[in-house]
């Protein structure tokens, strides 16, 4: 039994109290005396040349403080991209400028043209309506393949084409893969779309820029998953403010799912305007505005081919993907379809030859970047769908086909550059089969048929690379940042502890789970430990939270800092007990001398450190505070097996999810309650992608799904009760906690299960449909049924 409040306990979350009582501190709850409000005048055309902006009338409107346009940002840096991909031919990607406010051209609906700062929100909006903008409409490119045609309009006039890069991975495998596919016994081909998604954290983005002229200090309050990254990008690359004069605070943040990783123009604008005006400037995004300004996710069009031998052994995989970058390169956009996608194409299988080609394309749409899973859902979806299709074509049971190809020996070096340290894919698949009563499925299908419904069962596996990431490796891959994490452990004089972590919690519950780790290590109650995050003024340089990295990287940094603390405390205890350091044992908050009854409590050691009267001052500094930076040796590789059972109403095309089961291997787990919650949330986003959600542009670049009236957010009644299990645990071999991370698994593993299940349902009903593109909305499923009949 885990100790209450320690590792492995389902400790209730401490942060809940403020959220449940309405006393959280979200960015929009921050109001600074004297603040002005900004409204952005945004482009309503997808592509146009700005011929003129007349702000004369608007300047005279009531309450207007100042109106800014692109001209005010000449000489100011653009929004930078944090990752550079090198293409197949060794050339760097094409990297366009991304001005804070549009200069010369607008490139997507929502691109900011001007910013009105006024005394109130409504006054700012009133004045924005009075700005006259002369825009020459240009033809827009929305479809990626059309954007690559020779005569396509160019999103960026100064680039040679709309192709950002043409990436081959692993380029040396290309010919061998072609040959293996040509000569194989069987090749299964699938063309599919991984549709554009909108992350939609429930809290829209908010920015408050503040400036204290006397000290030349800027403070940015922002809805961010990584305040230090924003400070670095905005300070160094956009505004030229050194770090010591720029504080970034990300207080309580209402969800992120990737969309709050990136540095956005509004952050730079409010910081810039606050400095120019010497007063606070606030921007609160509306949901409608969020749809056209938050970076979108996914948006891949893929052809995948899987070559098999006559026994179903995988021989080779070849994929051809077009990845939409949108109009500009968002912070980590180039990494998503490449290193977060290509490296996962081996899945859980021993396929010896893999070649991934990705063409990244600029279009007149909102920039696309990481969304929960980022690249890994795209890899998993195509792989697990093509395996299912192959199983059907070769008449092999889909579960058995997967088992025939499982990786079983670890460490396993894939042909796509990563090395799985550990795993047991049979174990999670076995566990899943125990959970879902596969033998009883035929009876359930027959019963459904009596009600006129087609029942289907879809099963798939997944693997992801999390705990992002080894800095030296990602540096070689194009990252312009390190991906370590930091922690400072500050032990106070009476023994209570404040941990300052570079990780950021926006729903993940770090304040509780990180404290559990500390409580376990020190042996004091978790209530005596506080986890502080989200403020660059407090925490050492940190890289923030995404890629299921917090516990694996941030937690490890905290462990390393705490080990330093314990090491020093042991020396102090040895001095206090007049014993040799090697004889000191530390357990449950007590230092003892082995083989004696001598003991000194944690609190006494801490007090001695800060009141060093009886203290080895010649050997040790007073105080008890340590910092560690942890850079992981490898990614972590959570993996598992998922199953969906669905019913299709053949008359309407409506899909009902009857059951969903997930068996995950997350390695060691700190707080099972929180881990299960993370999986539930991931499943909802994955099932949401499979059945409901999708961002749609029309041919002219207007955003059709621009609000919750058309973008189908999953509701409670869209889901069954989930069954989740993480009892199959192969601890990570290279981090001190043996943890792998759990934040993205649900979103990565669930879409193929749903689509596999729907195809199975239709096939079971004698309807020969082999694939339907997501979201499997009733209209699309009905259309597919009509097509097959």
């Amino acid at each position: 039994m885990p100790k209450d409040g320690g590792i492995g306990a389902s400790t209730k979350r401490r942060e809940d109290i403020r959220f449940l009582t309405g006393t959280g501190n979200y960015t929009d709850d921050i109001n600074i005396r004297g603040q002005a409000y900004v409204h952005f005048l945004r482009s309503d055309v997808a592509h146009g040349r700005i011929k003129g902006i007349d702000t004369a009338e608007a300047e005279k409107m009531p309450g207007v403080v100042r109106i800014f346009t692109g001209a005010d940002f000449e000489g100011v840096g653009g929004i930078p991209c944090g990752w550079q991909v090198t293409d197949r031919h060794g050339a760097p990607m094409q990297e366009p400028a991304h001005p804070v406010l549009a200069q010369g051209k607008v490139r997507h609906v929502g691109d900011p043209i001007a910013a009105v700062v006024a005394e109130s929100r409504e006054q700012a909006r009133d004045a924005a309506e009075a700005i006259e903008v002369d825009i020459e409409d240009l033809p827009a490119v929305i479809d990626m393949k059309a954007a690559l045609e020779d005569d396509a309009p160019k999103v960026h006039d100064d680039l040679s084409s709309n192709l950002c890069f043409d990436w081959g991975f692993v380029e040396e495998n290309r010919e061998a893969v072609d040959k293996a596919i040509k000569e194989a016994h069987h090749v299964t081909t699938l063309e599919l779309i991984n549709q554009r998604m909108v992350a939609n954290p429930m809290e829209p983005r908010v920015v408050v820029g503040d400036y204290k002229r006397a000290n030349d200090e800027s403070t940015l309050y922002t809805t961010s998953q990584n305040p230090h990254v924003i400070r670095l990008l905005m300070g160094a690359f956009v505004l030229g403010i050194p770090e010591h004069k720029l504080r970034v605070v990300a207080p309580d943040v209402g969800g992120g799912f990737g969309s709050k990783i990136f540095h956005y123009a509004e952050e730079a604008f409010c910081t810039f305007a606050a400095r120019k005006l010497a007063r606070p400037v606030k921007w609160t995004c509306t949901r409608s505005e969020a749809f056209m300004t938050d970076a979108h996710g996914r948006d891949h069009v893929t052809k995948i081919e899987l070559a098999l031998d006559k026994d179903g052994k995988f021989l080779a995989i070849r994929t051809d993907t077009h990845a939409n970058m949108g109009a500009y390169l968002s912070t980590f956009a180039p990494s998503v379809p490449t290193w977060l996608h290509g490296t996962l194409m081996a899945g859980n299988y021993t396929t010896p030859l893999i070649y991934v080609n990705v063409k990244a394309v600029f279009t007149n749409t909102v920039p696309v970047d990481a969304y929960r899973g980022a690249g890994r859902p795209e890899a998993t979806f195509q792989l697990e769908r093509v395996i299912d299709k192959a199983a059907r074509e070769m008449e092999i049971d889909p579960v058995e086909l997967r088992r025939k190809n499982f990786v079983r020996e670890f460490p396993y070096a894939t042909p796509v550059a990563v090395e799985y340290d550990t795993g047991d894919y049979d174990a999670t698949l076995d566990r899943l089969l125990e959970m879902i009563d596969r033998d009883g499925f035929a009876a359930r299908r027959a019963e459904a048929a009596k009600r006129g419904k087609l029942r289907g069962l879809g099963i798939n596996c997944y693997i992801e690379a999390c705990g992002i990431a080894p800095s030296n490796l990602v540096g070689q891959l194009g990252a312009r940042a390190g991906l370590y994490e930091s922690a400072t452990v500050r032990v106070n004089a009476t023994g209570s502890i404040s941990v300052f972590t570079g990780s950021h919690s926006h729903g993940q519950g770090h304040e509780t789970s990180f404290a559990q780790v500390m409580s376990e290590m020190i042996g004091i109650p978790a209530e005596q430990i506080d986890i502080v995050h989200g403020d660059t003024a407090n925490s050492p340089m940190g890289m923030g939270t995404y890629g299921s990295r917090s516990i694996a990287v941030g937690g490890s940094a905290m462990v390393r800092a705490t080990e330093k603390i314990i090491g020093k405390a042991r020396k102090i205890a040895a001095h206090l007990m007049e014993a040799a350091e090697g004889d000191i044992e530390f357990k449950d908050g007590q230092f003892t001398v082995a083989g004696t009854d001598k003991a000194v409590a944690w609190g006494d050691v801490c007090l001695a450190a800060y009141v060093p009267h009886n203290y080895p001052l010649e050997e040790l500094e007073p105080g008890l505070e340590e910092t560690a930076f942890y850079d992981p040796a490898n990614f972590t590789y959570p993996a598992g097996a998922y199953a969906a059972e669905v019913e299709v109403d053949p008359e309407t095309g409506k899909v009902t999810v009857c059951g969903f089961a997930a068996a995950d291997d997350f390695g060691n787990v700190i707080n099972p309650m929180i881990v299960e919650g993370q999986v539930h949330g991931g499943l909802a986003q994955g099932i949401g992608q499979a059945l409901l959600e999708g961002c749609v542009y029309d041919e002219s670049g207007q955003l059709i799904s621009g609000s919750y009236m058309d973008y189908a957010m999953p509701r409670a009644d869209d889901f069954p009760a989930f069954r989740v299990d993480h009892s199959c645990a192969t601890p990570c071999t290279h981090n001190p906690l043996g943890v792998k991370g759990c934040g993205e698994a649900g979103a990565i593993g669930s879409p193929p299960a749903i689509v596999n299940a729907v195809v199975d349902a239709l096939q079971g009903g004698g309807i020969d449909v082999t694939h339907i593109d997501m979201p499997l909305s009733p209209g699309r499923v009905w259309q597919a049924i009509q097509g097959a009949n």
Partner: protein, 161 residues
Amino acid sequence: MTSVSMTVNGKPVSGEVEGRTLLVEFLREGQGLTGTHVGCDTSQCGACVVHVNGEAVKACTIFAAEAEGAEVTTIEGMAEADGTLHPIQQAFQDHHGLQCGFCTPGMVMSAAALLKENPQPSPAEIRDYLEGNICRCTGYHNIVKAILAASGQDANAIAAE
């Protein structure tokens, strides 16, 4: 500007508002009650649900002037004065019915309205009632469990759906 008066969480309050001032603006900006959140502009997400005269209402879709004379309860009015959580709040913590916390005030207020109407709802009735409350974090599973528990039922009954 017109003046409005209402009772918020048992206390009489009043203020000057424009015709267009929404109740949620009056609460957040006028009264400093920032627990009521705004997550959309199409009256769908439900982060702003409060009770007006005992009924769940989206505070972003009612003008402050329409609440003239009303009894308004917000999330800040749910716990006891000594900080003891309302049973629904406590159940949300016990069953991990929240993650980022942004939708939570609206969820709790909707749950309270549900249990007033239907003291022992089934899991399906809970899911149906939450149609106007969007949560992006939890997948709703633990919210349903929390509401079952708050209604005195076995939270594990969710598995019997």
